[in-house]
Symmetry: C2
Subunit: 418 residues, 2 copies
Amino acid sequence: MALIVHKYGGTSVGNAERIRNVARRIAKWSRAGHQIVVVVSAMSGETNRLIALAKEVQPNPDPRELDVVASTGEQVTIGLLAMALKELGLKAKSYTGPQVHVLTDSAFTKARIVDIDEKKIRADLAVGTVVVVAGFQGADEHGNITTLGRGGSDTSAVALAAALKADECLIYTDVDGVYTTDPRIVPEARRLNTVTFEEMLEMASLGSKVLQIRSVEFAGKYKVKLRVLSSLTDADLPLAQEANSGTLITFEEDTQMEKAVISGIAFSRDEAKITLTRVPDRPGIAYKILGAIADANIDVDMIVQNISVEGTTDFSFTVHRNEYQKAMDVLESTVKGLIGAKQIVGDPKICKVSIVGIGMRSHVGVASLMFRTLSEEGINIQMISTSEIKTSVVVEDKYMELAVRALHKAFGLEQVPA
Amino acid sequence: MALIVHKYGGTSVGNAERIRNVARRIAKWSRAGHQIVVVVSAMSGETNRLIALAKEVQPNPDPRELDVVASTGEQVTIGLLAMALKELGLKAKSYTGPQVHVLTDSAFTKARIVDIDEKKIRADLAVGTVVVVAGFQGADEHGNITTLGRGGSDTSAVALAAALKADECLIYTDVDGVYTTDPRIVPEARRLNTVTFEEMLEMASLGSKVLQIRSVEFAGKYKVKLRVLSSLTDADLPLAQEANSGTLITFEEDTQMEKAVISGIAFSRDEAKITLTRVPDRPGIAYKILGAIADANIDVDMIVQNISVEGTTDFSFTVHRNEYQKAMDVLESTVKGLIGAKQIVGDPKICKVSIVGIGMRSHVGVASLMFRTLSEEGINIQMISTSEIKTSVVVEDKYMELAVRALHKAFGLEQVPA
């Protein structure tokens, strides 16, 4: 008997029939003797509907009140799923985040989980009850309702799995696992049976939208065994088969011994590039630039600064494309004069392509194969940034698909590693 | 400066524009220096949508889980209204029932309020914040979400007014007060400036759908000054005028000195009649019949038993039309044999018409005027039941409108009492 946390996203619970299907799947696990905690998202479209309604009332909705409104989406799902489970003859009970004391900070619309009191859940599990918990939400120390931000249900599931010391956390989703890259771009893309947390972190942050990045961080930190698998398979699939499907995200590097040099290719079109040219190369310049950007609450991704020539340097970084204009405005209005940059040039028409793999640590020549491949396709590289297990390049966005396909082939990702 | 509780029903908050209108109305009261607590219902149609969704998943929804789902309707409204108030520059904060400790019993879908901890609300009011509370909901001692049943938002408002010792509780609704009868049936029906709690109780329970009956009981018990008024007037109506509009429900009988003999005519088509014929007239018979009905959780309204003839009697009562079949089944399967009734006959095609008035206490001949009026219209009376301040008759349902119109005229209700 194991304690398993299941998580189902909005598509999986998108209507009454799908909710009944999810219930059948859970019943299979429960009847096999496992203790099951289920975390669910709002029915697909519901969160968007609620946010649109809020914006109709207040164009820039108050964050505390937006959380009050948005959190109802998941609350509807938990009630419905508990009903569906009961209809199948199971014992089931639903809880909102606040009801099981998912304690968060007070950063409305993007709160972070601080603690979970799992006692109530344990008591229910002990008597064979399937516990259904609303993802995406909690309450701060004053009892205010908070939400974790988009994709927060993954984080809720992993946090519950950590608090309960669950044997495994199964993230059911509309894809059947983590792929070497997006199969819509590279038809030969292959599902990975396992991937390490570090690789997953790089993949997630770089645009593999399978899992919310914070949930992966959480899983790594608390050593939660995480599996991404499909909610679209037959609910009556034999349990042993289902339990080994999808992609297991592990924290054991040893299982990676036989792996290929790189595990996958991530990419994103969500970024924009900004360069300040001829910046005087003095201590504190980077802080002055990025401090102003951070004060405006804009997240920066890549940062590149090259050596200086004749006392000045060019300073480049990328931000989310939605925040491009805001970042440009901040730089023009406050930073430019302050540091004496010659020019601020920006380009929202870029993309980022990254190769990711634990194997890069012990293999040389990985980056150069990447650069050679892109060069052979005539793709100019605008920025480069590297970490221990990934190399990212910024290229013109029209080359994105071409770059991803060429790299997938060059690194032989379509083949199962020996 | 007064502490006023406002309550707005589903129609008043039915879309973003109406919510903004409600906010303007509240702003008027708040800016005049009053402390305002607002109780709101779900947006019109929302509760029905949620219940339909639940029934899609589980035809007979689990009550605990149904409350989890249904309570989200009000939660959406409180967030939206708080946003609208903030958009007008007011301080505002929303709370669900559980958040302000609306403690109820555990009778899911029809819970009763046991206690309210008003400290949190008082603290907000003290700093000039408009407090927006979700009606219809609370939590039991175990923290389970409960709802008060249909129309429960009125009860929430009155209970909050009682807990806060509010100066007045204003129930804004889509009618502009309590009428002598339904103006859709009798165009001459007249709005009452005041009505006593006792009369209101009889009117509410008999089908005047202006206020939920439990809220009126609550108001009477805790001496909450209650006013029913229109939410459809211009939000910018001068406050002094708005504050005196609608119908005030008083607990002071002296203000009724000049009133007409009867205050209004109530009616209902929601009932069904059941008669057990030739029941042996022995002690305990009524209990055996109604005990079985109560065990099946069916509410009984009118009960009539006449004197016995030859050792047997006919026993009649009415139940809600929705529970008619269930009541018949209970009687056939368990009661009939037990007590030796000859026959059980039922009729769902009836209606109840009642005249209500404090003045009946001190005036004779009121009931006989009622019976004469009906007889002159050729309407046969099937059952009669009386209390101190009302007389109800059951007649065939096709006569309902005719009976109401004839009685309204006979008692001169279209004229303002001298």
